[in-house]
Symmetry: C2
Subunit: 353 residues, 2 copies
């Protein structure tokens, strides 16, 4: 390898001083500065046999069906209690693959950076993405970096795509759901969305210990699928919250889904923050929880399997699939009333993920 | 399927009036309005067996190694002579897969939309992406839509990832390049970058018929690989232009690469526009061209194969790999001088792709 400036093979002077420098437009130009940014700031954090080839495409050794997914992350602020946009972008995509019944394997990371972003900030985000990738046992194998002039993007947006391998006999989906099935959640709801919202208050009038639940769910899901082979349906309740997932479940299966409000785990801090902000935890995004539908007689086994995993300690059976064929989701409230659960109409919380 | 508003199964009132409406934050909230936007504006344009499942992950029937790539597109203006951000985002990702020797198959499309974007504009971009996908014979199988408040993104950014299948015996790369090999380009250089730059001039002082070359190269590359099985290396000269690719080629192989300026095809309009704007076509982005390295004695066959394809009519042999082991790229100029070709230092043209 030759450094084009010194023209002596094997000599590579570092060009970027990350403690001092900010992102400039030239870092996204595809020229020498882009190559320097990748070599000095990006690649060392994600080193693996596929990325290290440093070509535009990663060549990957699959030998059977795959799952493929993508998500754009625009969360604001980019760093929040419990996580940041780097961890979020890795976990969100890992979780989409896991709930499809796939083993997450390879991710891509496409960055859109604002001119002027401090390089130490970028480094923290990338470190966090790399740590989450190690935690989830996935490799970041390809990526892209664009820089746009100041004001044309807000700090940093990340789009992560993922590929996972599918095992035979792990078919999941609406059509596998049957009347009599049980609905479980792996833990407390609303923590991510409310932690981000609290962080956004300019006056910090509500103080809280609340932090985001953002975590990779692949090992929790694998444990559940090993313990309960008859899992019918899995979904991570992100944007739209638990309400969005159960509304989809009712619509997609045509069955009635009934939740028991007293069984839905909500942290005290989350409930308090939701009340202060006028939000319903049922519609708030989670980033480290999974909703599972299993056969009714496997509900206890599923709960036990979830609770044995550190990310599922608060797992609970929260509802059931009824015999009525009306595609309605309903919530039996704490006081014994019944209300219809609809997916939230629109954006209660812009830029929550 | 049940409409949660009417609560009558099978009845779906259209909710979006695309001729009147603009994107609002709620279209990105993961709730009812997001579902409406997907159902009425997005899905009908890309219908295929994988997307129509409408789950977060697409389940795909590979049975061997794959190539995986991603690119973020932030081009400004989003519509330009010869293309738009929709066509660009599909072609760019298809081309990255094609030059890796893969057959492009499946794409994901992640949109970050600015609040207030006119829905007819979004529809034109999506129509264009769908047309490019048909042209390239790929399916858009999954996606994501986020909306951010006005001013926090500029109209629309698209991140496209792609998966292609690899055929045995199609190994390409720096290490397959040998002294004596010939370097080819499939057509004229600089057209994309200069067409976009001309479109950006507020005063339109330079008038031109120039249009972007943005096109999917997969069938051109397939024809070349069929005709010339010994192709050593392929790359699409996007950001950084032809200069960036030959500098990479010299550095990556450790060989000397010599280009003959008189053989490099440049349109008259492109040369004129480059002179007016003070740019070197060698460093300007292309979006429908491929650089190929083949054995010296296969150069004519490769040129013929390229020229028989509509996208390769102006293909030319433009250089060779020399015996010198100095990793230098050089250009023999029209007047017989020699200059070193380095990758451009940074961003000559922000937001060109």
């Amino acid at each position: 390898m030759t450094d084009p400036e010194t023209e002596k093979p094997g000599i590579r002077r570092p060009r970027i001083n990350p403690h001092r420098e900010r992102i400039v437009l030239a870092h996204g130009g595809g020229g020498q500065l882009t190559a320097d940014l990748l070599r000095e700031v990006v690649f060392p954090r994600f080193t693996n046999e596929w990325l290290d080839v440093a070509d535009d495409s990663a060549l990957l050794p699959t030998d059977g069906p795959i799952a493929f997914t993508t998500d754009a992350y625009v969360v604001q602020p980019i760093e929040f209690p419990g996580g940041d946009i780097g961890r979020l972008s890795v976990c969100g995509t890992v979780n989409d693959l896991a709930v499809a019944g796939a083993d997450p394997k390879w991710l891509s990371l496409a960055l859109i950076l604002e001119e002027g972003l401090a390089i130490p900030t970028l480094e923290r985000i990338l470190d966090s993405a790399a740590a989450a990738a190690r935690e989830a046992d996935v490799a970041i194998v390809c990526g892209d970096t664009k820089v746009v002039p100041r004001g044309e993007v807000d700090e940093i947006y990340v789009t992560t795509s993922g590929v996972g391998t599918l095992r035979a006999g792990r078919e999941l989906g609406f059509r596998r759901v049957r009347p009599g099935d049980a609905v479980l959640i792996s833990g407390t709801i609303g923590d991510h969305g409310l932690a981000v919202m609290l962080q956004r208050q300019s006056d910090r009038s509500i103080r809280s210990e609340l932090s985001s639940d953002v975590a990779p769910l692949s090992s929790l899901v694998a444990d559940l699928l090993d313990a309960v082979p008859g899992v019918a349906f899995l979904r991570d309740p992100t944007r739209g919250g638990l309400a969005g997932v159960v509304a989809d479940l009712a619509e997609g299966t045509g069955c009635r889904v009934t939740l028991d409000e007293t069984r839905i785990p909500v942290r005290k801090e989350t409930r308090y923050a939701a009340e202060m902000l006028g939000l319903d935890p049922l519609t708030v995004a989670n980033e480290g929880k999974v909703v599972a539908v299993v056969r009714g007689d496997e509900a206890d086994r599923a709960r036990t399997a979830l609770r044995e995993h550190p990310l599922g300690r608060d797992a609970e059976v929260i509802g059931r699939i009824g015999p009525e064929r009306d595609g309605t989701a309903e919530l039996v409230t704490e006081v014994g009333g019944v209300r219809i659960v609809v997916r939230p109409y629109g954006e209660e919380l812009p830029r929550i993920c």
